[in-house]
Symmetry: C2
Subunit: 401 residues, 2 copies
């Protein structure tokens, strides 16, 4: 008999995917160039040439038995060492290859990290607004994901509510900075305060509370924003990384878990990841792609388009009267909708061929997300539509005219 | 707090991996060429040139955004259609792309298939000798793997014991033909009888009993052995395939689930696989490798070395007095040890630099596995060591001298 828990998941369609499908269908009617599709967080710049060259070199110059052979379940040792070295140089850490576990992107990394430390009866806290796929990662362990309401002032952390919700049952706190969907980057002060509270509660409760740090947007940081490496603030940190955004290779499903060497049982946790993989039959990411990313571990695609797009949109949104926290990174912006129900707001926007995602999906009703990982030319062409939408639908209520 | 179930798995080291590590260490002492390492089932022939060319063509001629972009969680539609077409041509099936779910090799495929139909309280049956990783795939669903004792006459199916063990609790039967470790290929008669018994029990119990067919060795078939496609014999079949062996790319982690179109809820099962993937953060296999295997779906590496090696070993083993079923495929042979405890037998063999794996690991004590995916030259050089081992340790008991 079919297992119900998976069958039931089929019912709940992704809002983002439905909007993206609508955009594609609408594109067939009026030309996709005329649909201002801000729905999907798909990188819009190509992978760097060096990545392509690395793959071709591996295929043409190396023994195919080495390149295509089994990877150990924890990842290829030389790859893990290169990644540890790169993190140490960039962030002043002291990882070795033994602290790295290769995964299928950040999704695989987070799902492994949660399984390491959460089980039925436990709770995992995250902060609104948050990436909705955290739900399946946590739910299928049998633990419960609880969402701390947003600090809508600046999308840092609502520490008052966090303190209340950080009960004895909480085994892990899951953060995402730079943040999808708000674009906010946690400040040094936010991370210090977070670490202080968590350390205090660890002492009080007598058990570890792990910080799971989801960092796929780590390299997409805008001017004037301080780069902070989360794991430096808190010993029991499990960092989850993906090359999807930095190298524009989301389909290649490659990333890693990096356990802080000062974390309790650090190497045991990494080894346990291998056992989790065994049970799901995943084993390890593709060897060819592991070897290739190791060669370009310090590089990125040309990510400058995202900041350019952000500035254009931010300026226009503010001009139109939107309440909007200026993003410090990522390729998202998360303004407040011009009416209470962001779902209705986004529905109306479709009439202007603007595809926006209501914040309800991210645990933050009343806001909406724009993923501006599209060509700058298209962002510019979308501004008249945005103006017309706001003026027509909300002209009386805003100072935009 | 760390989740115990994964920590406890760390204790149980793989016998095969330990033997392989011993072989590597011994190789450092006497030269790896002098260690007759029959431990690991790692392909020993390179991937076909056409695979390499397909990858390079994708990288150099296609838009990197298409090649490296997100794959849908069920797999890339064009890839799924090509695979369905290839299976239909070769085996007279009527799959469409909707019946195919792309996975990380057969491991991923089996782990997904088991999760579709088994949960705590259920049982999954398999037949000794069997691949030991079936345990984590089944155990971590909460269901129980039960092993039907071997038919040691010919390593087909012990139907008497199967009939007894196929109780109301059994939701799936997991088979592997051509078989690791025995090398046996199930005959048409075996599959017909298996299907007949399962269909009868489905009617009796009033629920589906799914046949999960693990087929990574499907293309490694020896002369005179009839090719049979399991899914043709039983409607409720979920086929699990990997390109690891046919294309010699085990590190690239690529394979698929193919659900028989006549299977109950066939397309729902495929869609549910996508939900299972979501929960483990796996999402889908690497897009570059998906696209590449689709281009060479009907091809294989030059697999002829395996049959050559099998014939040399089989002839010598029989000459030395071993009881041995002649393999019909794979790159394994599974003779009876020359003393009751195969672990002691294999331990003694190490003194002759012969690395053999005791059958206990495969649920079949008293036998041992040789993985002859090594150069023919090395197989030939191993024969004097094999003779010396048998004559010295077991000379009195055998007619070998």
């Amino acid at each position: 008999m079919i297992v119900d828990k998976y069958r039931e998941m089929l019912g709940a369609k992704s809002v983002i995917r439905e909007l993206s499908e609508y955009a594609t269908a609408r594109g067939r009617e009026i030309g996709y160039g005329n649909v201002f599709d801000y729905s999907l967080g798909n990188p819009s710049v190509p992978a760097p040439e060096s990545f392509k060259k690395a793959v071709i070199r591996l295929l043409t110059e190396c023994d195919p038995m080495d390149v295509h052979g089994y990877s150990p379940s924890l990842g290829i040792p030389s790859v893990k060492e290169k990644i540890a070295g790169s993190l140490n140089r960039r962030f002043g850490m002291d990882y070795t290859g033994d602290h790295i576990f290769m995964t299928s992107g950040a999704a695989g990394a987070i799902a492994h990290a949660v399984r390491l430390v959460a089980q039925p009866g436990d709770e995992v806290l995250t902060f609104a607004p948050f990436f909705p796929e955290y739900h399946p990662y946590v739910d299928l362990t049998g633990a419960r994901l609880k969402v701390v309401p947003a600090d809508t002032e600046n999308f840092q952390i609502n520490f008052e509510r966090f303190g209340e919700m950080l009960t004895q049952k909480v085994m892990a706190v899951l953060i995402n900075t730079p943040n999808n969907p708000s674009g906010t980057v946690y400040t040094k002060e936010t991370l210090e305060k977070l670490a202080e509270i968590m350390s205090e509660k660890e002492r009080q409760y007598g058990h570890e509370i792990y910080l799971i740090s989801d960092e796929p947007y780590r390299e997409i940081l805008f001017a004037g924003v301080e780069e902070v490496y989360v794991s430096r603030f808190y010993a029991n940190t499990i960092s989850c990384y993906s090359y999807s955004k930095s190298l524009s290779i989301p389909g290649e499903r490659i990333g890693y878990v990096a356990v802080n060497p000062a974390c309790k049982d650090a190497v045991t946790l990494v080894n346990m990841c291998g056992q989790i993989s065994r049970g799901i039959g995943h084993n390890c990411p593709t060897s060819l792609i592991q070897l290739a990313v190791a060669e370009v571990a310090d590089e990125t695609s040309d990510l400058s388009v995202y900041e350019r797009n952000m500035n254009i949109l931010y300026e226009e949104l503010v001009k139109l009267g939107f309440t909007c926290v200026k993003p410090g990174g990522t390729f998202y912006i998360f303004p407040k909708a011009l009416e209470e129900d962001a779902k209705i707001f986004c529905q109306k926007a479709k009439n202007y061929d603007l595809i926006l995602v209501p914040g309800d999906t991210f645990g933050c009703p009343g806001y909406f997300r724009m993923a501006y990982c599209i060509d700058t030319e298209k962002v510019e062409r979308s501004l008249p539509a945005l103006r017309k939408f706001v003026e027509t639908e909300y002209g009386q209520k805003n100072g935009a005219n």
